[in-house]
């Protein structure tokens, strides 16, 4: 086995009755590495996470989590080092946040868990002695993150972790996760909130209809997807027509408002366009370069690309 590899999926498939929910997934994650698992609802993300936790057994392929198969005897003990945040996490309503976290800490076998500190870290310090019944959706989500962080996990599996969190809480959330990652944990988080994932994970995997259709760094995925870089050019007010005329006919262009054009540049045409634009000198007022967003890549892979 590879040292430091926390997730190793080889040809994993899962069938529930007639429905093939996951098929032939190969996926690896190393210690200290983070991966975003993207896909529409029903793409198989949650099932894949359940397989990794040993909550459901794959119908095909092999799974190693920290070197062990989840369905083997003794895997249960390993779960003490795994932090899991389920989608739409729910708790027993009658307990307070502090009681709940203490209960989960005991289950993980922690002798002196930093319960109040952890609750402070996720911003529940003031609410820790209130019943969870009175918690908002965002507060439950933060309590969910706190329980996932118990026991310094070496693997974090976070299923749609930031639903219900406002932008500020999201940032705090990712800071906590990043801290754990620097501490050596492998992090896998699933999402369909694409924008916020960008630049937050080392790699991105895209699932569609149970298959992994793409996996790599953002740069790699950009190359594979072949999405165009968009260049927006705004001409100086007096020279609008002149500029438009001189650039007209250059690749795909569409006007976006008065005196502005947007070009979709593919494979190397970008630099040529930029040279031409800069040759126009002062006639150009502004140039904006918009690389393909994760959203573009995601749409490309999840709708058009055929599985490899």
């Amino acid at each position: 086995m590879n040292a430091g590899r926390v997730i190793a999926l080889e040809g994993v498939g899962k069938r529930y009755g007639e429905a093939q929910v996951v098929r032939d997934v190969h996926l690896h994650l190393a210690e200290g590495e983070s991966l975003a698992l993207l896909g529409h609802n029903g793409a198989g993300k949650t099932t894949l996470i359940k397989i990794m936790l040993g909550l459901t057994r794959p119908s095909a392929g092999d799974v190693r989590i920290c070197g062990r198969r989840p369905w083997e005897r003794g895997f249960s003990a390993l779960r003490a080092r795994i932090g899991y945040l389920p989608e739409n996490v729910m708790f027993q309503d009658g307990m307070t946040g502090r009681e709940l976290l203490a209960f989960y800490a005991r289950l993980k076998g922690l002798s002196s868990p930093p319960v109040p500190e952890l609750l402070e870290r996720v911003g529940l310090g003031a609410a820790m002695d209130r019943r969870v019944r009175a918690y908002s959706k965002g507060m439950r989500q933060r309590l969910g993150l706190a329980q996932a962080m118990l026991g310094d996990p070496v693997l974090l599996l976070l299923d749609e972790p930031t639903t219900g969190l406002d932008p500020l809480l999201r940032r705090q959330f990712y800071e906590l996760v990043a801290e754990r990652q620097r501490g050596g944990a492998g992090v896998l988080l699933s999402s369909h909130a694409l924008g916020e994932i960008e630049a937050r994970t080392d790699r991105i995997a895209i699932m569609r209809a149970g298959r992994l259709v793409a996996c790599g760094t953002l740069a790699e995925l950009r190359r594979q997807a072949g999405c165009p870089t968009r260049i927006r050019v705004r001409a100086a007010a007096s020279a609008a027509e002149e500029v438009l005329a001189s650039l007209a006919g250059f690749g795909e262009a569409r006007p976006i408002g008065a005196g502005s054009l947007e070009f979709a540049c593919r494979n190397g045409t970008k630099m040529e366009l930029l040279r031409r634009v800069s040759a126009l000198g002062e006639l150009i007022e502004d140039v904006e370069i918009v690389p393909p967003t994760l959203e573009d890549i995601y749409d490309r892979f999840s709708e058009t690309a055929e599985p490899q």
Partner: protein, 274 residues
């Protein structure tokens, strides 16, 4: 074992918080005390100890109340956690499914044992005190308390079975209620019909077997005809002499009713694909 104890402790805390423990204690104590007061009305020439009379009365009522309470505690133990969405998180922790079931069961059983001990035990102490320290029938009373807990365990186990078989909490409640009705009322009515219809054809041994096949009747057999003095009070002295069965037989019958449903629950729960 550690995980089982942690889970059991949580169930007990839950029971304390939502007043389950208190309510159960109060209903048992209330039942025992009202019977004790009724029982202290002079009853002709019967010279039985207060405790002996209480066993006859209490066990006849416990046989209805205990199964109901146990089923209410247990019917949503598993299906409820699935429906609320808390089961997934629990099972992602270092606990096995066996530990989840056994931990919850242990916690619920402790709740019932505490309620019986405090409720019936307290009433028993009161009876002994009001009888001026007379301890006759103490053994039968203690046996009644212990077998009441066992009866509770049986219906907890049956409730868990319902809880793992059914996919919705409301359906589980319906099944639990039906189960209770069958076990404490319908089965005995059917048995009565059999006896009335073909009393001669049914030999005593067969009838006894049918009695012992039901956990509630096994409980009655144990408490009402197991002890000679109690049997005399209950007017079943003849039956007791005729049956001549060891106390261990109904106890074993009840233990089987506890172990089997629990084992099937474990099996089904472990096989379930989440």
């Amino acid at each position: 074992m550690r995980a089982i104890l942690i889970l059991a402790e949580k169930e007990i805390r839950d029971g304390l918080r939502n007043r389950w423990v208190l309510g159960t204690i109060l209903s048992f104590a209330g039942l025992a005390l009202s019977l004790a007061f009724l029982g202290s009305v002079p009853v002709g020439t019967t010279r039985a100890g207060e405790l002996t009379v209480a066993v006859a009365g209490l066990s006849s009522l416990t046989v209805y109340l205990m199964p109901l309470i146990a089923l209410m505690l247990s019917y949503d133990a598993l299906v409820g956690e699935f429906e609320r969405g808390t089961m997934l998180l629990l099972l992602s922790y270092p606990v096995t499914r066996r530990q989840v079931v056994l931990g919850k069961f242990l916690g619920h059983l402790v709740i019932l044992a505490v309620a019986v001990t405090v409720g019936y035990g307290g009433a028993g102490l009161f009876l002994v005190w009001s009888a001026g320290g007379e301890l006759g029938g103490l053994g039968a009373y203690l046996a009644m308390m212990a077998s009441s807990v066992l009866l509770g365990g049986v219906f907890l186990a049956l409730g868990y079975l319902v809880s793992v078989l059914v996919r919705e909490r409301s359906a589980a409640a319906g099944w639990a209620l039906g189960l209770w009705l069958f076990a404490v009322v319908l089965y005995d009515l059917a048995l009565l019909a059999v006896v009335v219809a073909g009393g001669d054809a049914l030999e005593a041994g067969g009838f006894l077997a049918l009695l012992l096949a039901s956990p509630t009747d096994a409980y009655r057999v144990l408490n009402l005809i197991g002890d000679e003095a109690v049997a005399a009070v209950a007017g079943l002295a003849g039956a007791a002499a005729e049956a001549g069965i060891e106390a261990s037989v109904p106890v074993l019958a009840m233990a089987a009713w506890l172990v089997l449903p629990l084992a099937v629950t474990l099996l089904l729960f472990q096989r379930r694909d989440l």
